[in-house]
Symmetry: none
Subunit: 407 residues, 2 copies
């Protein structure tokens, strides 16, 4: 709650559950104090069939969740021999002495199902809350340790199978996300909401998530008809705005582009000015990018534009570095020097300084040199510096994706 | 709640508040349904003096927070002329037609203080809940749009000053973070914990946060003596491990390096292989970087290493692309071609593929060419691909920082 640590548990756990058709109703984070933790667990048990807690099971003085939940549920703690053996083995394998405090991790709630921790010392626990002092229905409470590399395998290997057994679903949820670029959020809705009306009337839910340079369309169905509803909806969306759909669910545009170029055995070169290596960085985040990317030139200065990608001094003098002719020469120059099939070039004014009345901050020229033609876009991307780079890189990668697909 | 989006708001907002001495008691995420949103806001208003909501203020049909909160508080919505003008200007500047639905974003709660959005279309709002139907004390409710690039500047520039005015603190907390690189977490603690003992006895709190390639030391004081305690502690830490402290609080290493090079009027060139443009990207994220960075070459292929930075074919053949001689030639070559004062070069194996018994995944050579000498580091950075890039870039920038400082 001091903002020093990013909570990635929510997304990860919600994702695992959603993929199995379970819906998470609420996620809560509270400070490490007894009152706050007990209150949050009490409230959750009053609402939900399943409550999952993370963290607070370790050996240090601020790891108090185990004791607090035992107290809340009026249960005793017992030392578990198998857990103690695991803790001892953990230190023995690492040839380190076992600190006395670590023994507390062998304490488990008296009637808990123990979830062994293969990657750490604190075990997880699952407890049936029956009778449930906070709600008419009984519930399940699952406690997991906080470190992601301990929590994640425990959740996948032990908790998910356990949930499927104890809380089987009658009506699972089906969800599908389509990632689009090049259209604003309300334009996307204008184009698809009407044609999807009969499906939404039948229970389909549509969600829109506007990210910078990208709008996600999420299609959710519930019940026996869920698969059909979502499938039909996806077909309609693709028919209406398919040219803007670059992927589904977890696809990143750079992955889609690297996959496409790899499949078609095409190569790429980059000449970046205002994006300063960001496009190269995104491309090289994809494993296997070295098959596709031959070189990227961050031609930040005018001298670099001349030296490395062969932009002519006269072009720079006549049109300025941020201009369509310079973008063209950057793309064509780096394509020629590397013999790449495609070359992307970007020149613009990221800001905050450097704008003029004629070329305000946000002005960009994006050029794509291909075998027979050089394409140029001229958007105005008025954002902070990092967002500017991201949006510009989305436009450049999307221009590349569409051009490669159109061949 | 479907796990498709990582919630970074909690950390960021908690951090801003903690840095001003405010403590956050609880963070809640709920599904996008009317019942859940209203219930969460109602509960929060029953507990806290200040409730902040994020998201749900946009133009699409699932953006329902505005309406739900108006209903919950029994308030009417009115169209705000200034907000409408801002929405219209947003589209005009970008040369895009304004979709009809976007107009809904000009609706604000009747007695809300409107928080203008300089980076998007949905404004924020602050409403005093007085009388508070859910608690004896009155409270404040602040609504902010979800996109981080809109929320963050609004929060820093408008919400924080507003909170300081409306909810002043009697006993603020003083905190100072010193960012170090090059030492492990336990080594940092070994070096400073003893000498700080008299201050911790007097109430100073020390926190250590190990991040990849970096350890943060957080010094926290409370009460009237807080400033003195933290100030003295900072002096002691700097005396003991000052060479490893590259900045404070929110300083980024790339900012420190650009500032240093700018002050000394020195220039930089880059030749990156395994980091794939990531160092160039970090440097060019800093406004004013164009004074410092002349060019960056992402010499991903061997041909690019020869063509753009003059690595010799014999060197590549004799030692392989991932080797000290190639790193040296990359740095010295790009320095010569650009006439930069300093040139950094990186070659290595990011993985997951490409390792050999001799040069396992994670092997890196970092070379820094300066006027009289070329320095080379050879760490082994075994991480996932993106962490590999980050850690390697930290090492390279830290080598540069220390070398520039030593002159």
């Amino acid at each position: 709650m001091l903002g020093r640590v990013l909570n990635t548990h929510q997304q990860w756990i919600c994702r695992q559950l959603a993929d199995c058709g379970y819906e998470v109703a609420r996620q809560t984070a509270v400070a490490d104090t007894g009152r706050e933790i007990q209150q949050a667990v009490r409230e959750a048990l009053s609402r939900a069939d399943l409550v999952i807690t993370t963290g607070g099971l370790g050996p240090t003085s601020d790891d108090i969740t185990r004791d607090l939940i035992a107290e809340l549920l009026g249960k005793k703690l017992r030392e578990d021999a198998a857990v103690l053996a695991n803790v001892e083995a953990f230190f023995a394998v690492r040839k380190r002495p076992m600190p006395a405090k670590t023994r507390v991790q062998a304490l488990v709630l008296e009637d808990a199902i123990v979830l062994p921790n293969a990657h750490g010392t604190a075990p997880g626990m699952a407890v049936e809350v029956r009778p449930n002092p906070f709600r008419a229905q009984s519930g399940w409470l699952v406690m997991l340790p906080g470190p992601p590399r301990e929590l994640r395998p425990m959740f996948s290997e032990q908790v998910l199978p356990f949930i499927r057994e104890k809380l089987p679903l009658a009506n699972a949820l089906v969800s599908r996300t389509l990632k689009t670029t090049g259209l604003g959020e309300s334009v996307v809705e204008e184009k698809i909401a009407g044609p999807l009306r009969s499906l939404t009337d039948a229970g389909l839910e549509i969600g829109y998530c506007a990210r910078t340079g990208e709008v996600d369309v999420r299609l959710v169905g519930r019940g026996v008809d869920a698969g059909r509803l979502v499938g039909e909806a996806e077909g309609i969306v693709r028919r209406l705005i398919g040219g803007h759909v670059f992927g589904g669910d977890d696809d990143q545009l750079e992955e889609v582009v690297v996959r496409l170029l790899t499949e078609r055995r095409r190569t790429l070169a980059l000449s970046e000015s205002c994006t300063g290596g960001y496009i190269a960085n995104r491309i090289t985040n994809v494993p296997g990018a070295s098959v596709v990317l031959l070189a990227g030139i961050v031609s930040y200065s005018n001298a670099a534009k001349q030296e490395f990608v062969g932009v002519r001094a006269e072009t720079l003098a006549a049109h300025g570095a941020v201009s369509e002719p310079v973008a063209r020469e950057m793309a064509e120059g780096v394509r020629r020097k590397t013999n790449a099939d495609y070359a992307l070039a970007v020149t613009g004014i990221a800001g905050p300084g450097g704008g003029t009345p004629d070329k305000p901050v946000g002005t960009v020229f994006i050029a794509l040199a291909a075998e027979r033609h050089t394409f140029v876009l001229n958007p105005v991307n008025r954002y902070d510096r990092e967002t500017f780079k991201y949006v510009t890189s989305q436009q450049a990668l999307e221009l590349l994706r569409r051009t490669v697909l159109a061949r």
